[in-house]
């Protein structure tokens, strides 16, 4: 998927979930879009945060897997 088309796809997602969250009452709450966007992105933001926080360990794991372990410092005597 071309990332430049993301907003279009995003509007479709908003449309499909909105029936679960919204009524048709005419009431304007300018903060709703900001409130719900956070909940919609929560999973992605959380996952990215976990990956970022564990990035060192992940790199270490793959280095180990492919036999490129970090150089061990020479023993001190």
């Amino acid at each position: 998927m071309n990332i430049l088309h993301l907003p279009v796809s995003f509007a479709a997602i908003l449309s499909s979930i909105s029936t679960l969250l919204l009524t048709n009452e005419a009431y304007l709450d300018p903060g709703s879009g900001s409130y719900l966007l956070q909940l919609l992105l929560a999973g992605l933001l959380g996952s990215l945060f976990v990956v970022k926080a564990s990035w060192g360990k992940i790199k270490g794991f793959f280095r180990h897997l492919f036999g490129r372990g970090e150089e061990t410092p020479p023993d001190e005597e």
Partner: protein, 471 residues
């Protein structure tokens, strides 16, 4: 307290408000904020923020509240020398203010609290570092809730920074039009398409704008929203905003770093040295408690005052000059110098509710001394301001004036007149002195070596100092 007066900048927040009395500024905390204030003070958050210079320190004080029926406590915050606004900041000042806000939010979350306001106006430059001045911005965080100040952070910080970095640095001035930050649909339209490839910008500006537009006019039943914001998601949101802000860069173009002053002026080294010596002498004579340097460029002459510990504001119209000045202040730890962006021909006006929410430049402070070096020709010739009006303008600012006159024979003025008719018959040394003599006493008028320029030390008539010796 007699003669206490509510300040007009803090009327929105039911948690409390600022008021003045007996020459000091106080903040009344209302009963409605009682629980949150206790949490701030008892959770260790206040101590942590103050120790890291992120929140203005205050002391609880026993003076009569301005509105006793609402009051819980009165606090007295440490005073800020000069209140500045986001549309007067250069790119790095706004970026540092944004990062400070996010650092505060992370610490607040660790202490079970969250920022309920994210207004850029709540950040001020105190000893040249950004600091939160609104002690009542915190609230107890309820697990699972999204960040209530998310929209405000995006409008006050992320959108203007993205526009300045990706489109044009002058778009920071949109903050002067939109007092609650740049609308995200406008920012989304103005940003180039390539910003949709940046995760933070596509999420927090482009998709945010779509989401706002989509949900506007629809009622959200919060009770029906079963989805919650996990701890990692909340931290992920703040981290994503921080990464996004950190990635935004703007570099001053056109001149070499650190060579700005020399590159744009036609002074000889001797002339610069002589001018530096004279300005220093004049400042030493005045011994001002505060200085404004108008048309300060990168602050070469401002530092003659600020390096002595005199609180100095260095104004310039050029975002690149202010940016360079600010970066030099940060790297050199110049704590008494505040560089700000200002077009003197159209200075910051009174803004907001009843034109009283944000003060105009001249309403905010009155410095002891004004430096106006290599400035008059820009105002008198480029902007057609009559010399008498210039004298009135400077007299309205402060009692002391260090001002440079540059005659038509100087190449800088010649450049301004090269493509237009000379309609300034009074723009002469005599005409200049005549215009200023009606309001100022001219104590010194010294030609600058190797130039045709003259540096003046003037004092407004009504404020002649008894012990001044103009030898």
């Amino acid at each position: 307290m007699k003669n206490s007066q509510r300040l007009t900048a803090s009327f929105r927040d039911p948690s409390g408000f600022l008021f003045s009395g007996n020459g000091s500024i106080y903040r009344q905390i209302n009963q409605a904020y009682h629980e949150n204030y206790q949490a701030l003070m008892e959770s260790g958050l206040y101590e942590k923020l103050v120790s890291e210079n992120l929140l203005i320190p205050h002391k609880e004080i026993s003076v009569e509240p301005a509105e006793p029926s609402l009051a819980y406590k009165v606090i007295q915050p440490e005073p800020i020398h000069f209140i500045s606004y986001p549309y007067e900041w250069c790119f790095s000042q706004l970026k540092d203010a944004a990062l400070t806000t996010l650092a505060i939010q992370k610490l607040a979350y660790q202490h079970g609290m969250s920022l309920k306001d994210c207004s850029a106006y709540n950040i001020q430059f105190h000893r040249n570092r950004p600091i939160l001045i609104d002690t009542l911005s915190f609230e107890l965080y309820h697990e699972g809730e999204p960040w209530v100040a998310y929209r405000q952070f995006c409008q006050h910080f992320l959108a203007p920074l993205a526009l300045m970095a990706h489109r044009d640095v002058r778009l920071g001035q949109l903050m002067r039009i939109y007092i609650d930050g740049i609308p995200l649909d406008l920012a989304s339209q103005l940003l180039p398409a390539r910003t949709k490839l940046d995760f933070a910008l596509v999420s927090h500006i482009h998709l945010h704008a779509i989401s706002q537009r989509y949900f506007a006019g629809k009622t959200v039943h919060k009770a029906k929203v079963t989805r919650r914001m996990s701890s990692t998601a909340f931290l992920g949101l703040v981290d994503s905003l921080e990464s996004g802000v950190r990635r935004l860069q703007w570099e001053p173009r056109g001149t070499e770093w650190g060579d700005y002053y020399q590159a744009t002026h036609n002074y000889s080294l001797e002339a610069v040295e002589h001018k530096l010596t004279l300005v220093k002498q004049f400042i030493d004579h005045i011994q001002p408690t505060s200085v404004w340097d108008l048309g300060a460029n990168t602050g070469l002459f401002s530092r003659l005052a600020s390096n002595q510990g005199i609180p100095t504001v260095a104004f310039d119209i050029d975002p690149a000059a202010v940016e360079q000045n600010y970066r030099a202040c940060v790297s050199g730890e110049s704590t008494h110098l505040l560089p700000l962006l200002l077009d003197l021909t159209n200075p910051s006006p009174s803004l907001g509710w009843q034109n009283q929410e944000r003060k105009s430049l001249l309403e905010r402070a009155s410095p002891d001394a004004v430096l106006a070096l290599a400035l008059v020709h820009h105002l008198a010739i480029s902007n057609n301001v009559p010399l008498e009006w210039l004298a009135k303008f400077f007299a309205s600012i402060g009692p002391w004036l260090v001002i440079e006159f540059i005659p038509k024979s100087d190449t800088q003025v010649g450049r301004l007149l090269a493509t237009r008719e000379d309609i300034f018959p009074d723009y002469t040394k005599q005409g200049f002195e005549q215009a200023f003599k009606s309001l100022f006493t001219i104590h010194r008028a010294i030609p600058i070596t190797d130039t045709e320029r003259v540096l003046y030390l003037m004092e407004k008539h009504k404020d002649v100092r008894e012990n001044f010796n103009p030898s």
